[in-house]
Amino acid sequence: MTSEAVKESILEADFDAIVAAGDRVEPRDWMPEGYRKTLVRQIAQHAHSEIIGMQPEGNWITRAPSLRRKAILLAKVQDEAGHGLYLYSACETLGVSRDELTRLLIAGKQKYSSIFNYPTLSYADVGTIGWLVDGAAICNQVPLCRTSFGPYGRAMIRICKEESFHQRQGYELLMTMMRGTDEQRAMVQESVDRFWWPALMMFGPPDEESPNTAQSMAWGIKRNTNDDLRQRFVDMTVPQAEALGVTLPDPDLRWNDERGHHDFGQPDWDEFMQVVKGNGPCNAQRLVHRRRAHEDGAWVREAATAFAAKASA
């Protein structure tokens, strides 16, 4: 062994011990290159999801049907921008700048959550996204509060708190609409019909087709398998749907006494792959929007930089 290799193996042992103990790895700590890369990819994807996720809900801010709901929605979308900001900062501690990540996003070289490639077609979708999409996100994210990388875990704690507030608001909107007119009840049902399967897809492909899960779990970046989380989400959501008075569009959905869990059908994984590949209903639209906003703002960012340079000169 060279002295370099010896040093590396000691560092790796230290790192493994930290992770095994459930302690946090901090930015200045040594970490394996694979760990760093996986983290950057995961945190960036999460940050991008917050930013792209502003679009489907933002689509309804100007049309919110009451001033109270307009304020709630505007504040929620603003929170998503804030989440994006924390997460980009967490990524920057790993040595990748927000500019670079934005460049990768608008070049289509980094992903964001596929759920945001589905359109929002009625105001009920604002509620459904809060209830189902934020609900699924919370199931995914709560375990990440204990993730091994410090800045990411701390960002997740703050984000999860706000997300569960958003989830309650979404559910409350749907509940209020269900107490309204027949048309409103129909809107809610139609919206749930559209978002149920894409929400189940948010946990990723079935475990047997998710090759990176094992390594991510060993590194403490991921804490549960996709199928575990999906099951948890379904079990949590079914009674909420009953309380709301909507039907979930899955004929195979029923309680299984033996397993102590709900059985449920499989989403259309072909569609999932199509959307991941870029052929979802809104992939192109979302990227065009993000790219346009970024390019339209270039002169402003340049002006701010030039002004700061003059001020410090």
């Binding site: 930013i51 049907p65 609409m177 270039a298």
Partner: protein, 239 residues
């Protein structure tokens, strides 16, 4: 009471319409920090609008449009969503299109300066509700003024292009400022603040006169078509 209602309606409509315009920046701003700051401004103005519209409705219920018997729509929403463009009392400055970021900054600056002057005066208004709204709003408007003022100077002194855009944006909104300043009785104090920002930025007052006419531009009815569409499709809806 009718006078108070009309005045609150005017102040409320200005806030509502400008909030709607500023909220159009959501997910379109030059940077995340600006997205968040502009959403803050939109939220503050929306809050002012809700309080002022409710005050107007309480002072003179006859200003509230009639809705179907038993409709659950609160007064603030009846006023916001069920009036036609010609019944809106806002000024033209707040309704015209956003233009680019520079034009938005110029408009927010002018609006905040004039309205802050009005709100400082109204903080001691005889109507307790209005004076409380004004005291709370004045703090918000001071923040909007400072935010817009900082960007006004940054863009004026940043690059050639940002300066060109800032001057163009200021020129576009300027003809609609005098009627607002007059309605708000903004006075020499507001003028002094404005001159100070202009001096720091090194920008002259635009050499364009006030826009003739009164009432609204073509922009308002389009803005309302979008803003009101869901509420109007469900006049008995609960949200």
């Amino acid at each position: 009471a009718a006078d108070l209602a009309a005045y609150c309606l005017m102040l409320g409509d200005d806030a509502l319409v400008l909030s709607q315009r500023v909220s159009q920046w959501c997910s379109n701003a030059p940077d995340l920090e600006e997205d968040i700051a502009l959403a803050n401004i939109a939220l503050d103005l929306l809050g002012q609008a809700r309080l002022l519209l409710a005050r107007a409705a309480a002072a003179d219920p006859s200003v509230v449009p009639a809705l179907p018997e038993g409709s659950p729509v609160p007064d603030e929403d009846a006023l916001a969503f069920f009036r036609e463009a010609h019944a809106f009392r806002n000024h033209r400055l707040v309704e015209i299109d956003n233009g680019d970021f520079a034009q938005t900054i110029a408009r927010v600056l002018l609006f905040a300066i004039a309205r802050l002057a009005a709100f400082e005066r109204l903080s001691s208004h005889a109507d307790q509700v209005l004076s409380a709204i004004a005291r709370k709003g004045a703090k918000e408007l001071a923040y909007h003024r400072d935010y817009a003022g900082r960007w006004f100077v940054t863009l004026a002194q940043g690059t050639e292009e940002s300066r060109r855009r800032l001057v163009a944006g200021m020129t576009a909104v300027w003809p609609f400022y005098p009627e607002l300043a007059e309605a708000y009785d903004a006075g020499p104090a507001a003028d002094a603040v404005l001159d100070q920002v202009l001096a720091v930025a090194g920008v002259d007052r635009p050499e364009v006169g006030p826009a003739a006419g009164l009432g609204h531009t073509e922009a308002l009815s389009l803005l309302l078509a979008e803003m009101q569409v869901v509420a109007r499709a469900h006049p008995e809806g609960r949200w």
